[in-house]
């Protein structure tokens, strides 16, 4: 590179940084920086009326998994906590699987519409994605409540004698989360299927594959990046879900999100809440790294 070229290149890089600086500044103070504060608070002691005392303590992290026996002060595994963690992981996993099972056909359907109508179908699936989470959860609640639409219809038809108790159960959470996070699975799947070369299907059929085999051996392996992206996009928010479990689960079926909120409300254990938040963040980061690694590998395989 000539001297002039080097100077121009350096100017370009500097300009890049200057232009990005304001955004970076805001994000540091209002998004990234605060995360460090959380880490610090997780090592402090709970204050009497909430907030913290600036005294170092391991108690926050310890109480993530353990609790002290009231009488003999020994540590044992906190069953209540573990139940919540287990429920969160279980429900997030099932939600991911369910959204995939119905989301893949939906994405395939949209991607195989004639180009003129495809944008319309895409718009239709995007609207729920941008609709307020609260409103969507509320809407689903209206359906499955004891006095809700579903039960009223079934009662009027005489199919059941008494309302089916759906709310405040794990099933309600599942229904709610599948309903709320389905668009997040469909969109990345659509993006991948849209890029899929349909002529490969012709080749598959030409070589005697049945429709099921074409799906299993050609379509799914090639759309794997989209499947993983969609799975991450559903699993991660599910794990940290707060609004949906709160409305549909009441105070009883808590997920990690609700458990964290509790520590900053009635629980008055900010260090524990901070530790839990950190733990959640770490799990999510691992999931994202795994995704990036799989995508990198897939790109190498063409």
């Amino acid at each position: 590179m000539s001297r002039a070229e080097q100077a121009a290149s350096a100017r370009s890089v500097r300009a890049g940084w200057w232009l990005s600086a304001p955004a970076l500044l805001l994000l540091t103070f209002a998004a990234v920086g605060p995360l460090l504060i959380v880490l610090i608070y997780s090592f402090l002691t709970p204050g009497k009326y909430g907030n913290v005392e600036w005294v170092f303590s391991w108690a926050g992290w310890v109480s993530v998994l353990f609790e002290r026996d009231v009488f003999d002060d020994t540590l044992r595994l906190a069953d209540a906590n573990l139940t919540i963690f287990f429920r969160s992981v279980k429900l997030s996993f099932i939600t991911t699987v369910l959204t995939f099972l119905v989301g893949f056909p939906t994405a395939w359907f949209i991607a195989t519409r004639p180009p003129k109508s495809r944008a319309g179908w895409l718009f239709l699936i995007t609207i729920p994605f941008w609709t307020n989470l609260l409103i969507r959860t509320f809407a689903i609640n209206q359906i499955i409540r004891n006095e809700g639409v579903l039960n009223t219809i079934l009662l009027n038809l005489g199919v059941i004698g008494a309302p089916i108790q759906l709310t405040y159960t794990d099933t309600a959470l599942l229904v709610g989360m599948v309903y709320v996070y389905l668009p997040l699975m469909v969109l990345p799947l659509f993006a991948t299927i849209d890029r899929f070369d349909m002529r490969l299907l012709e080749a598959g059929y030409d070589l005697y594959a049945s429709r099921w085999r074409v799906l299993w051996r050609i379509i799914l392996p090639i759309t794997r990046p989209g499947i993983i992206a969609g799975s991450i996009l559903v699993f991660v928010p599910c794990l940290g879900a707060y609004v949906t479990p709160r409305i549909l689960g009441g105070g009883k079926n808590m997920m990690i999100g609700n458990f964290i909120e509790l520590q900053f409300g009635q629980g008055r254990n900010w260090p524990l809440g901070s530790a839990l938040s950190m733990a959640l963040l770490v799990i999510v980061t691992f999931a994202l790294l795994a995704y990036v690694r799989t995508i990198g590998g897939d790109r190498r395989n063409g």
């Binding site: 290149s9 370009s12 890049g16 200057w18 232009l19 990005s20 304001p22 955004a23 805001l26 994000l27 103070f29 209002a30 998004a31 605060p34 504060i37 959380v38 608070y41 907030n51 119905v102 056909p105 939906t106 395939w108 359907f109 949209i110 239709l124 699936i125 609207i127 729920p128 941008w130 609709t131 307020n132 609260l134 409103i135 969507r136 509320f138 209206q142 359906i143 809700g148 639409v149 039960n151 219809i153 309903y179 349909m198 299907l201 012709e202 059929y205 429709r211 991660v236 928010p237 940290g240 609004v243 999100g257 964290i260 909120e261 900053f264 901070s274 938040s277 963040l281 999510v284 980061t285």
Partner: protein, 271 residues
Amino acid sequence: MAKRSFAVNDLPGFATIAIIVFLALYAPMAVLVVFSFNAGESPAQWAGFSLKWYQLALQNDQVQAAAITSLKIAFAAALLSTALATMAALGTTRRKNFKGQTFIYAMINQPLMVPEIVTAVALLLVTAAIKKATGYTGLGYLILAHAAFCIPFAYLPIRARLEGMDLALETAAADLYAGPWQCFRRVTLPLLMPGIFAGAMLAFVTSLDDVVITEFIKSPGQDTLPTYMLGQLRRSMKPDVNAISTGILALTLILLTAFYLATRTRKQPGA
């Protein structure tokens, strides 16, 4: 004699599932909208058409206050985040990849990668500390917080638009003696406008919709529409929530349609 071809793209049952999914996605919201016009209280029994819940909601002081707060925050946050995102997009696109560009990219998209509850907790800690120190309890915290997590939503459409722009246009402007600022003002910016508009729409909608972060860092007496609704849901199930929801849905729909119209790739000469 069959007149169709062998439908290569067809997978059995997929279309049926897709249609059911679409219906299932919209049905609950449709029910919500329909029953916001229900004269009766029970959401399961139709008691005639009525606008009374809308009247109730509009007359409710708290609803009014919450709506105004929501809009104030959304406008401010959208403005701020779009401006910052536009600058960041200009700084990171169509340049030779420089060291640290990945870092910038990661920072900008960070809100998308962290669960909302974690960000909410983090912001709670920070604002609680600042509140204790300064006593300020205005909308400032909410606006800044919203602006921060709206940046990625504004950034992506602007960046997409920028990448799709024909460099030759700016080269032509330079060839015709335009300086860098003139070129930006007269060529780049006008062409970028649809992307900026789209980004602002998305930022606005995202801010309007936020529940968790707002719930955690708002001061007592501050309420946005979503937090007001959340509070209502905790207590009774007054049907005016239906009306408010329908109102928000309508607004979202209008904004989304505007977004789609702005990002439709129209055949323009030279663009």
